[in-house]
């Protein structure tokens, strides 16, 4: 009877010890999330570059319209081109703002998930360590029982 209890207790101890391997899964998730965060950062940098180009395009189209107005009737065709440029730059601006907004939304949800995984990983490892300590105490008590 006592030998059986010892054997079962040892098996529980081994099972609990193997649970600590869950740390590898957390490390893997952590690496994946890190890669995702890096990707977000790179996309944000691209978004900022895009924003500069759109701003530049808007300025150019404004200047083109002013120059066309100065030139009078001779540049009616140029006015059409300048107006079309302005329409395009406005559309690009709206799209860029939407893109930037999407990146911020992504940043928050990715960060919240990343941090949840990180914090939950720590709490689970602490819980497993607590369980391991309890099993260790149980072993010690069982060992004191005469065979």
């Amino acid at each position: 009877m006592a030998a059986d209890i010892r054997k079962q207790s040892r098996e529980i101890g081994e099972e609990v010890a193997s649970l600590k391997s869950v740390a590898h899964a957390f490390e893997r998730w952590h690496q994946d999330m890190n890669a995702l965060m890096d990707q977000n950062r790179a996309m944000r940098a691209t978004g900022e570059e895009l924003s500069l180009i759109v701003r530049h395009l808007t300025m150019l189209s404004l200047n083109a319209k002013i120059e066309a107005a100065r030139a009078g009737d001779a540049s009616r065709g140029f006015v059409v081109v300048a107006t079309e440029m302005r329409t395009l730059s406005d559309r690009a601006d709206a799209l860029q703002k939407q893109f930037s907004s999407g990146l911020h939304r992504n940043d928050l949800s990715t960060t919240a998930t990343f941090q949840d995984i990180q914090a939950s990983g720590k709490l689970m490892m602490a819980a497993i360590s607590g369980l391991e300590a309890m099993v260790g105490r149980l072993h010690a008590q069982i060992d004191e029982v005469p065979a």
């Binding site: 911020h104 919240a112 941090q115 990180q118 939950s120 819980a127």
Partner: protein, 184 residues
């Protein structure tokens, strides 16, 4: 859902942690005022950085967000006179200490808790806080020594009912582990 008791416990712990850990000198006066959470979250203020730290339990996650909108005054204050680094750099350690205190106190009510490392986000991310389906959001304005200003938002999310019952407090009088093993 979150019970009124859990809400008041979390808010008290958060306020206590800010009072104890935000001033770089314990003699500095800190004024804390509740503001509409949506107002605290809005991007109407000039763009600024946010520092986010998450505490997680099995039933919920608690996001603590600090809004670094105090400019160079706050940067110099938290950087103890240094103004060469990014504001978030100077504040990261303070945020960590503050959230560590929140976690330690919460551990009196919740047996299993873990805490993330701080992360920097753009203030416009706050526009999407509702995406996290929070059960409770509280906003604060913080002023230290009158002129060092920042904002703070507490965001509690969970799929299960959240309550910190008095029985849980008694049961966890033996200090709960906040985690000896460090991952990551």
């Amino acid at each position: 859902m979150i019970t009124d008791q859990a809400r008041s416990v979390v808010e008290r712990i958060f306020a206590d942690a800010m009072r104890s850990h935000l001033p770089v000198d314990p003699s500095h006066r800190l004024e804390l005022s509740r503001v509409d959470a949506a107002a605290a979250a809005t991007a109407s203020a000039a763009p600024h950085e946010l520092i986010v730290v998450t505490s997680a339990s099995f039933a919920f996650r608690l996001l603590t967000v600090f809004h670094l909108r105090g400019g160079s005054v706050a940067q110099a204050y938290f950087g103890r006179g240094r103004t060469d680094g990014a504001p978030a750099e100077a504040f990261g350690e303070v945020a960590n200490l503050c959230c560590g205190a929140i976690n330690r106190e919460l551990a009196r009510y919740v047996p299993h808790l873990g805490m993330s490392t701080p992360y920097v986000l753009h203030s416009r991310c706050m526009d999407f806080l509702a995406d996290l389906s929070p059960q409770h959001v509280a906003g604060y304005d913080v002023a230290i020594e009158g002129d060092v200003r920042l904002g703070a938002t507490l965001c509690l999310c969970g799929s299960a009912a959240i309550d910190f019952s008095p029985i849980a407090v008694i049961a966890s009088e033996e200090p709960a582990s906040t985690g000896d093993l460090e991952l990551f």
